[in-house]
């Protein structure tokens, strides 16, 4: 059985693009058009990986991320942020809240597919976490902030 991926984004075009590319790479893809629907779908589908937008109706990406981390059945499941919000602060926030990868729109679908592959097939949980901490440290250096991962601004 192929690995399943949930895409939560309110833009149907983005969903379509991601779905076509991931299906082409052999994944099973589920789509949710807002945060609330996305959270419900995640609990139902138990996807191996979630691709999450930030600016969405109902629950926004941050809230979804928080709810996923708070849910013991979902915690630690890799989440990739794909969003227009590309500030260092936003990226740091996403990573700090548990996302393991952060794509800023516009993005190359091939890169997204590659990231999904690495996260699912190559990295185990501890490597993903290591990767996440590295990204956080890099962003922190970039913004020169001493903001810690646990207290997002």
């Amino acid at each position: 059985m192929s690995q399943s991926i949930l895409v939560i984004d309110d833009d149907p075009d983005i969903c379509e693009i991601v779905r076509v590319n991931l299906e082409g790479a052999g994944y099973t893809v589920g789509i949710a058009a807002d945060g609330a629907a996305g959270l419900a779908a995640a609990q139902t589908l138990q996807p191996d990986l979630i691709i999450l937008d930030v600016l969405m109706p109902e629950l926004d990406g941050w809230q979804v991320l928080e709810a996923l981390e708070a849910d013991p059945t979902m915690a630690g499941r890799p989440v990739i942020m794909v969003t227009c919000k590309g500030d260092d602060q936003d990226v740091l926030r996403g990573l700090s809240q548990g996302a393991v990868e952060y794509f800023t729109k516009p993005f190359f679908p091939e890169n997204l597919v590659a990231s999904v592959k690495i996260l699912l097939d190559v990295f185990d949980a501890s490597m993903r976490d290591h990767r996440r901490q590295q990204l956080i440290a890099r962003r922190q250096r970039a913004i020169g902030a001493n903001t810690t991962a646990s207290t997002p601004s």
Partner: protein, 743 residues
């Protein structure tokens, strides 16, 4: 002719004279001594002598100062009408041989036969009918002061030696009395002169004479009074040393200039002695004056100390070009004058000091008045600033109680000045508890530090009427003065609007970034996907992807159009290109193109059958319509109905807050767009056409938008001379109206 003794048969002295010589003398002495008035003494001497001697006529003549003339002094036995003329007669000694002889010998001269004697004045003898004449010198201690004439008219008279001796004694006695009277007269004259001088000084002072004029007057009067050549007055300096000497008369030629060391010697001696100093001849004291002295030397000096309240303040001295010129009486006179002058000088000095003080005081008063005026002016200026400042200004005392409050502060806080004065600033400007610092904290900090540090705080206050205002306050420390203060002065600026603009801008930037990124992500995503040959996309998908790219491009184009149009409005570069357009046709076209787009809403129209012509910029009107309809789509649920209509109106438009001056005949083409969307809360209606404004409800926030669309619509409509407004019910929908003028 000399006196002959014992010539009988001639007239003789009355019996009393013969009987008691001493009684005669006593009588003369009594007569003369009964008065000190010179003229009375003279009259009595003359009269008594005539009566005692039995002479028909008796006259008394006095030598003048030059000792070569005799002045008439008193007459007895002359017709009064003639005496007056006689009294003006002056005898030159060289012409009056009888007097000349009497004075030169000091002895009486007897003329037995006046008519034949060669020494007599024949005119006078003839006139009066003189027979014998006796001339006796008036002498006291060998000093001759005049002559006494005894004339016998009726018959010649032969004087016995005894009689002559008695008459000599009478003359001598008379001389003493006359000299006494003269002395008295002189001293009285001097006293009068002194009094007159004092009065002149007094008058001068009363007339407001200044000190140096007073000094000069004192010296002048002293010089005049003692008939001195030159006088000088020295006033000690405040430290007691010898000061400048004021001279009078002013010796411009420098004839009488004394060596400074001689003057200093004289002055310091007077001051040291503290009593009058008389130097009868300066040459005796300083012999070298003779060889080195000035052309016209000064010989006699008398100087007196000037004393006030027991303290020597200076010296008044006079000099004479001749030696031994001043008598003890004159020295006393100068001393008296000096004493009086010292008081006058002191008065003048006090007066001068007083005057200076008065002047200083009035100058100070003038300065104060000037200062006061300037302060008034400053105060008025500050008042104007205080009253008209758009920033709230208040001043608080140590207890943070408000002592000054301006109209802008009333506006900001909602408190009236009367209410605010005396109230703690924490009550008047309550702090939003979310903010860490309050205005009250800042006030306290400023007052505690007691210095005007740069104190600026930003905080949020809660005005009385509700809401919140973001303020930036700068503080100054006002030091205590005249028993008031210290105070903290706060200038509080309402920066809410500024903050709002900042927020709008930052929102706008992130919004634009999102708005650009989203269609771009779609375009890029579809394009990449299409190019990815490994996906083996079928034609149907490829077409769908290309349409997606197309739509996203349209979205991008609209966004960029809006941004550019907005920026053109901002910079004033916006230009309409007007042409005759049919509004109905524009609506039809736009609705058609939007229906072709993948919209989930129902677009309906309510259009008149005929055309609706007006002069307008077709592209811009289309832009407005597209913005309004896409807005309606954005804020409507899927399936929500959107109606676009046109109608014609004449005269003032319905919304009262729009047109005010349009003529009643004005015809309008009114375009409206009605939706069944989320609606607009009443308090936001007046902001929605503002640049960058976006509603703050979650329902609005989740819809992307730049906050430019309605701003651009309004700008375009107003550029056409039209109006745009909205009617809305939250939860039920909104209707946007655009009224464009028809010619």
């Amino acid at each position: 002719m000399t006196l002959s003794a014992n010539i009988d048969g001639t007239a003789s002295f009355p019996v009393r004279l013969r009987a008691d010589e001493s009684a005669v003398l006593l009588e003369i002495a009594q007569a003369a001594g009964s008065t000190l008035e010179l003229h009375e003494v003279l009259d009595r001497v003359t009269e008594k002598t005539a009566m005692l001697t039995g002479a028909d006529r008796c006259s008394l003549w006095l030598l003048d100062g030059t000792h070569d003339r005799l002045l008439p002094a008193a007459f007895y036995g002359i017709d009064p009408s003639f005496a007056a003329r006689w009294k003006r007669k002056i005898l030159a000694i060289k012409d009056e041989r009888l007097s000349q002889e009497a004075i030169s010998t000091g002895q009486p001269v007897v003329v037995q036969d006046a008519a034949t004697d060669p020494r007599t004045d024949k005119g006078a003898v003839d006139f009066f009918g003189d027979k014998s004449i006796l001339v006796v010198p008036l002498a006291n201690k060998g000093r001759v002061i005049g002559t006494l004439f005894l004339n016998h008219i009726s018959r010649p008279y032969w004087y016995s030696p005894q009689e002559i001796a008695v008459i000599q004694a009478i003359a001598s006695q008379s001389a003493v009395a006359i000299e006494n009277a003269q002395l008295y007269d002189e001293s009285r004259r001097q006293r009068l002169e002194l009094l007159a001088s004092f009065r002149r000084i007094g008058d001068a002072l009363a007339a407001g004479l200044d000190l140096s004029d007073t000094l000069r007057l004192v010296v002048e009067l002293a010089t005049e009074m003692l008939r001195a050549t030159v006088g000088g007055l020295m006033l000690c300096r405040e430290d007691g040393t010898i000061g400048e000497t004021q001279w009078a008369p002013i010796d411009t030629a420098g004839h009488y200039k004394l060596s400074q060391h001689i003057l200093d010697d004289l002055v310091s001696e007077v001051i040291r002695l503290d009593e009058p100093l008389y130097v009868a001849d300066l040459y005796e004291r300083w012999p070298d004056l003779l060889s080195k002295g000035p052309s016209a030397p000064l010989r006699t000096y008398v100087g007196v100390p000037l004393q006030v309240r027991g303290e020597v303040i200076g010296m008044l001295g006079v000099f004479h070009a001749l030696p031994k010129r001043f008598s003890p009486v004159e020295i006393d006179l100068l001393a008296s004058f000096g004493a009086q002058a010292a008081i006058a000088i002191d008065n003048a000095r006090l007066f001068a000091r007083l005057q200076r003080q008065v002047e200083e005081l009035s100058a100070a008063a003038a300065r104060n008045a000037d200062l006061y005026n300037r302060l008034q002016f400053e105060k008025q200026r500050l008042d104007v600033i205080f009253q008209n400042s758009t920033d709230a200004i208040y001043m608080a005392d140590r207890a943070a109680r408000i002592v000054a409050f301006n109209p802008a502060a009333e506006q900001l806080s909602g408190w009236s000045t009367d209410e605010a004065i005396g109230t703690c600033d924490s009550d008047v400007f309550p702090n939003d508890l979310e903010c860490l610092t309050s205005l009250h904290d800042a006030t306290r900090a400023v007052l505690e530090r007691s210095a005007s540090h740069e104190t600026v705080v930003e905080t949020t206050i809660l005005p009385r009427r509700g809401g919140r205002r973001h303020v930036a306050a700068s503080y100054a420390y006002v030091p205590a003065s005249e028993g008031e203060g210290p105070f903290a002065l706060a200038v509080v600026r309402d920066v809410s609007q500024q903050k709002e603009v900042e927020r709008l801008k930052s929102d706008f930037i992130s919004m634009v970034s999102h708005e650009l990124r989203t269609p771009l992500a779609v375009i890029k995503g579809y394009a990449s996907t299409l190019l990815n040959s490994s996906l083996h996309l079928d034609v149907e998908r490829q077409t769908r992807f290309i349409r997606g790219i197309n739509d996203a491009s349209d979205r991008l184009t609209r966004l960029i159009d809006n941004l550019l149009t907005g920026s053109r409005f901002e910079s004033g570069r916006f230009k309409l290109s007007l042409q005759n357009v049919d509004l109905t046709e524009i609506v039809r076209k736009v609705v058609l193109s939007l229906r072709n787009g993948s919209t989930a809403n129902v677009l309906r129209t309510s259009l008149p059958a005929e055309t609706m012509m007006l002069r307008a910029d077709r592209d811009q009107i289309e832009h407005v319509l597209i913005n309004l309809v896409t807005n309606a789509i954005k804020y409507s649920a899927d399936g929500g109905e959107i109606t676009i209509g046109i109608r014609s109106e004449t005269g003032p438009l319905a919304p009262v807050d729009l047109n005010k001056e349009d003529p009643a005949t004005q015809r309008w083409a009114v375009l409206w767009v009605r939706d069944q969307g989320i609606g607009i809360p009443a308090h936001q209606v007046r902001f929605i056409f503002d640049k960058f404004y976006r509603g703050d409800s979650p329902a609005v926030k989740r819809v992307p938008g730049t906050g430019l669309g309605l701003y651009i619509c309004k700008s375009i409509v107003e550029a056409h001379g039209g109006y745009i407004w909205v009617e809305s019910q939250p939860g039920q929908g909104s209707t946007f109206y655009v009224a464009l003028p028809q010619e």
